[in-house]
Subunit: 207 residues, 2 copies
DNA sequence: CATTAAATACCCCTTTAAGGCGATTGTATA
DNA sequence: TATACAATCGCCTTAAAGGGGTATTTAATG
């Protein structure tokens, strides 16, 4: 199977190349340090799997995954990263990653994961798998508890058309804090303004 | 009956005092030029009717009516103004006015209206009365047709989170025009931003 | 014919919203 | 004890929204 690597740490990048090249059935078609470098090269390249770091400088790994999947959905994506928080995991999966391996994993695990991915599996580190099943176990709960109590209070205020200042007064906090909360809310809901936040919140039954 | 007057035009204020003082059964307890001056004086004053101009400088007559009715709902309010537009009429009535006399009315009419109000009536200039019954004849229609076709289109666009520019493009008009329409919409719905407009529009079944 | 409303467009200006930074405190927990 | 998260406050910037005018054209209506 043909693999393309995108990893910004030069040392790790070379180590991955060496490690994987030694495996039978695995061919490394190249390794790049950023999405910006990789994308033009990919245009003339045919491969089966992209092994990608999420914490890239410039365009993020998530964005890169989206772009690849848009144009060439047949390519399997293996996310390889230190991030194990909810947002990164789910963003990567939604973007199109089918494998999610943490950087603490052993070489053996990584190689097995790549084979598994190639054969149609969805290999991921135990921690990540646990997060996924928890998400399904909790069902709506995870959505409901996505926003903290304070954040939900603020969403309800914005629903009534209150401005930052007015919310601040009502809750007896600084307008700056309101701003911070709202930024966090938008981030969590993957939206970029009030209208979207409110429609999303309604859809998820948060408010 | 004891009457308090709030009227910012000094000449008219004095004329009203002279005119009404001459009537039997009417006592003028005072006349003030603004809500800000009148409110403190009212605290130590007991009266039956407040004759109030809607177009006061500073706090509006509407606001003054609200404040009076909140604390002392037994006081009858006579709105006395040049405004005969829908918004002012309904705002005054919603705020708690039971009489609504236009400034063009004759002294005789005003005095009769005050007596009528004191006896539990709801005296108002014929033009105003007509507006009121039309509102009831139209029922829901008046709400639905409150906004013009174009305005409703624009409300629907804002519901989808579109910016002025985007709405302008979609409808092939200038962003300035969108701005103008939205100002008009806010005025009609008595709101001051998108969220309020949307909640109000939903409540009234406009969208 | 005069008035009114709707739709269009432009001007000025101030306020808000939102993104990107950083930073501290307290609490819970792995 | 380190890590994460929630909640708090701050600064800076740009873009958008909103409030105040004015003005023209067209259509309907008293």
């Amino acid at each position: 199977m043909n693999i393309a690597i995108v990893e910004d740490d030069p040392l790790l990048r070379e180590n991955l190349k060496l490690l994987l090249s030694g495996e039978k059935n695995i061919t490394i078609l190249g390794a790049w340090g950023s999405a910006e470098e990789a994308l033009p090269a990919f245009k003339k390249l045919s491969f089966d799997i992209m092994l990608v770091d999420l914490g890239l400088p410039g365009m993020s790994g998530i964005e890169l995954i989206k772009k690849i999947k848009e144009g060439r959905p047949e390519i399997e994506i293996m996310a390889h990263t230190v991030f194990e928080d909810r947002n990164n995991v789910f963003s990567a999966i939604k973007a199109g990653a089918s494998g999610y391996i943490l950087k603490g994993s052993s070489p053996r695990e990584l190689i097995e994961a790549l084979h598994s991915l190639y054969q149609g599996g969805a290999p991921m580190s135990p921690k990540i798998a646990r997060k996924l099943i928890m998400e399904f176990q909790d069902e709506g709960a995870s959505e409901e508890y996505l926003l903290s109590h304070r954040e939900k209070e603020i969403v309800k205020c914005t629903e009534n058309g209150l401005a930052y200042k007015e919310i601040a007064e009502k809750l007896s906090i600084s307008p700056h804090t309101v701003h911070t909360h709202i930024k966090k809310i938008y981030e969590k809901l993957h939206v970029k303004n009030r209208q979207e936040a409110l429609t999303t919140a309604r859809k998820k039954g948060i408010i």
